[in-house]
């Protein structure tokens, strides 16, 4: 079986600063991996490097998506190949309606896959369903992308995009931060509804609470640019109770 996502000895940074320092991670279809780790460890950086954001330079190592060399592809090629990043801080695009934005995105992926583009009518139906699923009022389809959305609404909007885009691997960067209790449940339900044997998730979070809703197959600790420990869901509980201190200096490196 080809791994969905395979990252080997990844070194990457920005402007001379090394952030990822030999990161290994393998994800198979259908798996949910949680990544936890202290602030500044490089979690968001991993998402950016995988999706090809400008300014991030890979100095060593490799990453493949379904066997394809990910690092050699343009940002939008990676996206239409099935990589989705839910942003920690979603940006606003004033005046561009959410609906138009999502329709163009979804159709870009469909064109890449050799499928027919959705018509406005077809897409509207899908969008309305997705909007209801993340419990945003329907007028959010008409509003500008993230324009004036509250923090929690922005996060739900990310999940709505994920539902519509049907990616094969979803990298959710702190999608739970800033959510109230009900929103957390909504977002988790949205993610769970998308779990399938073909789709995998990387869920970056600081709180074990999210993992009560989205049950991970693996939990990894990312610190100082590397995965320093991997385990099952119980690892997240241990961190919740003890913090990162127990990892100390002489931690034992393990692999999932």
């Amino acid at each position: 079986m080809v791994n969905m996502l395979s990252i080997k000895n990844l070194h990457a940074g920005i402007e001379e600063k090394n952030i990822l320092k030999g990161l290994d991670l393998t994800i198979n279809p259908g798996e949910v991996h949680a990544i936890m780790g202290p602030n500044g460890a490089g979690k968001s950086t991993l998402g950016y490097v995988l999706s090809g954001r400008d300014g991030y330079e890979v100095t060593e190592g490799e990453a493949t998506l379904n066997g394809q060399d990910l690092l050699d592809m343009e940002i939008e090629e990676r996206a239409v190949a099935g990589l989705f990043l839910a942003f920690q801080y979603p940006v606003e695009i004033p005046g561009v309606s959410n609906m138009v934005f999502m329709k163009e995105s979804v159709n870009a992926a469909r064109i890449a896959r050799g499928q027919e583009e959705y018509t406005a009518g077809e897409f509207l139906k899908l969008a309305k369903e997705a909007c209801k699923q993340v419990q945003l009022p329907l007028d959010f389809l008409k509003r500008g992308v993230n324009e004036g959305f509250s923090g929690g609404e922005k996060k739900r909007n990310e999940i709505m995009q994920m539902i519509l885009l049907q990616p094969s691997i979803c990298f959710l960067d702190e999608t739970d931060s800033g959510l109230d209790v009900d929103a957390l449940k909504t977002v988790a339900d949205g993610v769970n509804s998308q779990r399938s044997p073909e789709r995998s998730f990387v869920v970056v979070t600081h709180y074990q609470r999210l993992l009560d809703y989205i049950k991970p197959d693996f939990v990894h600790i990312l610190a100082d640019g590397k995965i320093i420990k991997s385990g099952d869901a119980s690892l997240a509980l241990k961190i919740e109770n003890e913090g990162y201190g127990f990892l100390g200096l002489n931690y034992v490196e393990e692999k999932a």
């Binding site: 940002i75 939008e76 990043l85 695009i93 005046g95 138009v100 934005f101 890449a112 995009q161």
Partner: protein, 478 residues
């Protein structure tokens, strides 16, 4: 990221082809005998010849203004030809069947089919090619409603009283250097009259094309909306891609009589010159409307072309309760320069004006909003709201805002808001992460920025304007 956007902006100008056609073209140069020759050719009445000559004498005493600080090579007015018309137009074709097929093909290539059955239903068009009007569609249908829509040359012949009364009444001949030049040498243009109480049954439009080398286009548009009438008028323009600069100096006059409404929309896509600033149209246009009691004049413009654009569509709000609006998108790239805005002159009581100006600058271009809001002493309770937003793409371009306010009435209120923003790396990254290529991403972000203005355009035009922006922002991405 900036590089990528620059590449995305490295656009193709799709209207840049030349029509190979035989023309009668005046030798370059301007003097009294050239004016007499033009006047004779056009069968002008005596008063119009006098009118032209007096404008010419005024022009001779004027100098080209330099207050806008535009970088323009000195224009040699004796090196320009002031008249050019396809030879085939000499016999005055009476119907489309008699029009040179080469001309018809030109407009087909530009996406403007001239045969009525192929036209968007509901849009009548007057076609001006170099110095002459080639054809005006749907005239019979308009005539049923009493609407007059014809080349201005024809109006001078058929409706001399009306033309004489209003020509130069809104933009006097000596108003400025270019209006004087235009008044002396205007060759053709469109004339519209909407009778009392009539709502024009279809959109009217004029499509301007400059084709001949070294020729200037000096057209004149006069629109009169009689009491209680309504119309929406659209204007589009293109020119071939050439290394030489060419001059376009038009005058547009709008007369909105009591209780009438005029909506005037422009999509200006003259050849902008290449990325190093070689060639392109100098677009120096005077547009002004006078609004009588309870009337409304709306200017909407999408300016993407021309090497230099210099225009300020304005409203004289003379009548009480009259309304003036100006919605503008000006996009500059390469080495383009745009200095555009409006003047809202509030004379009557309770007059209202709204100005929404969106400037988008890319490449090494410069984009300025320049506007005047003037509240006269009798403008009791007049109101103006102005919003100027600039969007920068890359870091080598410039955006400037020059709002001038003169208020001589203490009850008048003027509000001004201005913002400057950039197409950010984060926005580009979000779009691309969702699968959009950089060109599409830029055009989507820019379209979003222009939304408030685009929604003022008539439906078909809004789509066209969006596409035009997309083409303007299109190019090869490495």
């Amino acid at each position: 990221m900036t590089d990528e956007i620059d590449q995305a902006l490295d656009k193709k100008y799709e209207a840049g082809f030349v029509t190979d056609i035989e023309s009668d073209t005046f030798e370059p140069g301007l003097n009294e005998s050239v004016i007499r020759r033009l006047s004779k050719l056009k069968n002008d009445p005596e008063w119009l010849l006098e009118w032209r000559l007096s404008a010419y004498n005024t022009w001779l005493k004027m100098e080209m203004p330099d207050w806008a600080n535009l970088g323009i090579d000195e224009i040699d007015y004796q090196a320009i030809s002031y008249y050019s018309a396809p030879k085939s137009m000499k016999d005055k074709p009476q119907s489309l069947d008699e029009v040179d097929p080469e001309l018809i093909r030109t407009y087909e290539k530009l996406g403007i089919p001239l045969h009525e059955q192929e036209r968007l239903a509901g849009v009548a068009v007057d076609i001006v090619f170099d110095s002459v009007s080639v054809v005006t569609t749907f005239r019979d249908k308009l005539a049923e409603a009493g609407v007059i829509f014809c080349p201005i040359s024809e109006a001078i012949e058929k409706y001399p009283d009306m033309v004489k009364k209003y020509l130069g009444s809104v933009v006097p001949r000596g108003d400025n250097f270019f209006s004087a030049l235009n008044s002396a040498m205007f060759t053709d243009g469109s004339f519209v009259y909407i009778p009392k109480g009539v709502k024009c049954p279809m959109e009217l439009s004029t499509y301007f094309r400059i084709n001949e080398l070294n020729t200037g286009q000096f057209e004149r548009t006069l629109i009169i909306a009689d009491e209680g009438s309504e119309l929406s008028y659209l204007e589009g323009c293109t020119a071939p891609q050439r290394d030489e600069n060419q001059l376009h100096a038009a005058v547009v006059e709008l007369v909105a009589l009591d209780d009438s409404k005029i909506k005037y929309s422009t999509v200006q896509n003259w050849y902008p010159g290449d990325e190093n600033g070689k060639g392109g149209i100098y677009n120096f246009v005077t547009k002004r409307g006078i609004a009588h009691t309870n009337s409304r004049i709306s200017w909407t413009q999408v300016e993407t072309g021309s090497a230099v654009t210099w225009k300020y569509p304005s409203c004289i709000l003379k009548g009480d309760n009259s309304v003036g609006e100006f919605y503008s998108v000006a996009l500059t790239r390469g080495c383009q320069q745009a200095d555009t805005g409006t003047k809202m002159i509030h004379l009557g009581k309770n007059t209202r004006s709204t100005i929404i100006a969106k400037g988008i600058s890319a490449g090494r271009s410069n984009n300025a909003y320049r506007g005047l809001v003037k509240m006269g002493p009798k403008a009791e309770n007049a109101r103006n709201f102005t919003e100027c937003d600039s969007l920068l793409i890359g870091d080598k371009c410039g955006a400037h805002t020059y709002p001038y306010i003169e208020s001589r009435n203490p009850t008048a209120i003027v509000e001004h808001e201005a913002t400057t923003s950039k197409v950010s790396d984060e926005q580009m990254f979000l779009c691309q992460q969702r699968g959009l290529d950089p060109e599409k991403a830029v055009s989507m972000i820019v379209n979003g920025f222009c939304k408030e203005v685009f929604k003022e355009l008539p439906m078909e035009f809004a789509v066209e304007a969006g596409k035009l922006l997309e083409i303007s922002l299109e190019g090869s991405v490495g």
